[in-house]
Symmetry: C2
Subunit: 481 residues, 2 copies
Amino acid sequence: MAPRALDYESLNENVKKVQYAVRGELYLRASELQKEGKKIIFTNVGNPHALGQKPLTFPRQVVALCQAPFLLDDPNVGLLFPADAIAKAKHYLAMTTGGLGAYSDSRGMPGVRKEVADFIERRDGYPSDPELIFLTDGASKGVMQILSTIIRGESDGVLVPVPQYPLYSAAISLFGGSLVPYYLEETENWGLDVNDLRQSVAQARYKGITVKAMVIINPGNPTGQCLSEANLREILRFCYQENLALLGDEVYQQNIYQDERPFISSRKVLMGMGPPISKEVQLVSFHTVSKGYWGECGQRGGYFEMTNIPPKTVDEIYKVASVSLSPNVPAQIFMGLMVNPLKPGNISYEQFIRESKGIIESLRRRARMMTDGFNSCKNVICNFTEGAMYSFPQIRLPPKAIEAAKKAGKVPDVFYCLKLLEATGISTVPGSGFGQKEGVFHLRTTILPAEEEMPEIMASFKKFNNEFMEQYDDRSGYSRL
Amino acid sequence: MAPRALDYESLNENVKKVQYAVRGELYLRASELQKEGKKIIFTNVGNPHALGQKPLTFPRQVVALCQAPFLLDDPNVGLLFPADAIAKAKHYLAMTTGGLGAYSDSRGMPGVRKEVADFIERRDGYPSDPELIFLTDGASKGVMQILSTIIRGESDGVLVPVPQYPLYSAAISLFGGSLVPYYLEETENWGLDVNDLRQSVAQARYKGITVKAMVIINPGNPTGQCLSEANLREILRFCYQENLALLGDEVYQQNIYQDERPFISSRKVLMGMGPPISKEVQLVSFHTVSKGYWGECGQRGGYFEMTNIPPKTVDEIYKVASVSLSPNVPAQIFMGLMVNPLKPGNISYEQFIRESKGIIESLRRRARMMTDGFNSCKNVICNFTEGAMYSFPQIRLPPKAIEAAKKAGKVPDVFYCLKLLEATGISTVPGSGFGQKEGVFHLRTTILPAEEEMPEIMASFKKFNNEFMEQYDDRSGYSRL
């Protein structure tokens, strides 16, 4: 009998090509071990609540009331909910067309999109148009929609940083386009060299690829760096010269751990450059409720904002968004609450500030603990995590370890991470899942384990690593940066 | 300057080809009129809460508690929430890996998938495997994922009913495949003739198309019919003979308005047919929390269940689902609550039954009011709505109306629906958005307006229609079925 439509050999080849290591072999093995009763520390994905981070109280109160609007008529409601949460719930319910159970407009509720626009204006100092802001089920869905709008086929290329969060490589594979890599410089704290970009574009064009867009992840995932204003200007000038749209993944904009390197949005820099660049460069910026000190990953809320995108294109994006009817409504309210937070004087303000400060300051300390911990290990070096939620240490694997990996039929960093998992329960993602230079090996961990557990985790890592290095030490030198 | 990446002329052509009338010209015009202050009755989309349907109290209590788990420790919680809602909230929170703020497994929480499998087993009498059930952000997302897995390019075809809910045509366009139409017979109460199917497949093959799958929507959207068991057997035998996967859109399985025509799932019929058919035909069935008497559209919850799909394919589908991390967690809990509802003896059982019965019985009466209303209008005939949420009356447009439409540059049924909208505020979708036979015209309305408003709406429709028919009556005959 001929293969059936959903037999493996009949499937869309682009689906087969997709790679997504964040939930790949390591994650699957970790899930197995967990089923067998082993304690696993899941640092493979930036999922703060899964590692014990508590949700912020106020937004949860508001969304709970929106889910149960009949409570608003209950005389006892004030015993469980503060007055400002009740007022905010009424504010958002009034924006819906029938509560959380009704589809919203496919771009999201106009009222929340207006609050997002106001937030962007306050942040950047330039007005933002709610009609150019679309709410999404998490930032990933927005990124995928924009990439599928851009990519026509394999001769369309998108510049993606290496190492990169593999959403980009996966989506480009799925939509049948070509990934054009540009390398971040580990020795320059994962900085971006525009000359290197130019070379990447030239090489791609030589192969007949039309390079249409460039992705930046700022703060970086998995690399944790924050781009400077000067660097962003260079990038935008480059996009102008090369006629590239810029996709700015800015989901970690609240996750900043170094005062000297604040987050600056691509849009602010673009607007500040003036015409012709500010009028010409097409920019789509992405944000989410999953990161920051919110960490509301499971709610799936995000937005994208479009700059210099012609109305006819916006209409096409709206049309395709309509096919999925609407982003989930509860997460739209989380987005509203995130961009339009409590103000001094509100009843819940002090608690909100205490909770959010507690989270961000702890993340800052954990970033430091983790980087320092890695740098104290044999054959491990790690740039400081300036932002985002990850450490991306380089692991200098001895030749004997590389040989042993080869014998086991594993990529060397996968081999290392699997051994780490079996020995310690720490579930990481091998650097090869993000891309890295030939012969150089990394792993990615989040900085999210609970602060009080961090010393033990880093000690357990160090013990494993040093034994591993001992075991494979052939005293004939290590793989080098 | 060359066109930029996101200028209209540079976009993915498949994006431009997508058509989605449910939120098309009519909807956009209705939104404009609403902004101008006109009262609009949105019957363009099956969105019950937007037209005043109240959410079921118990599931909302449970999800509200899950959003605000700190309430579970509050001594006053019992003043606002019944004990069974508190118990259920604890039940679902225990399934999460960190509450609603944590990503779940990309297939959805194992505990909820088990509850879905148990529901399917109770419904059909055959066991179901939770590992073959994936939760999704609404059924549409699941349909899109499966179609993108199947379609390799324009020579891959999918059989789709005409008229059809345009999710299917839109997704097939977006993924660059070919839609192979088969016609439902209006004079046979929108039944499906297998000989007609055979002809559609033969014609497609003659054009070089590999027909890989067939879509059925049961109960039908926009046509409202329920397929009989005999008809489902014929369809499954046909899929077996022609080597087609069957995609069963069963989102309206709880929306049944005629006792003689109950819903029967494709899976139950398939299992009942025995080998080889029951072991060979690949089936994917879709369900949702958006329809039934729940109508929780804005929460975006759904699932698909796979039958006879090989493990390697399931792995590929899992991998691609992972790229979007996880379906939203609150809607997963709604799904659990829907498939595993309250039982007699639970404190909230009586209220739950009263509320859900109230909704379904009112829908049944509204289906009757609407069909009867349409059939009392000049040049309008309408099959009875056996299931789902829609009426799909045929409008026999006089030649003078068709001419007037042509002059206005509009498709005739669009012309009619726009005039209806301007005159009455009733926002419908023209039949051309779903497909119909050449020269025959329809419109789709939901049966969702509040029951007490229904007489007035139907009177307003009748007045408009009869005036329209009067205006364009040239006494020289009408377009005919």
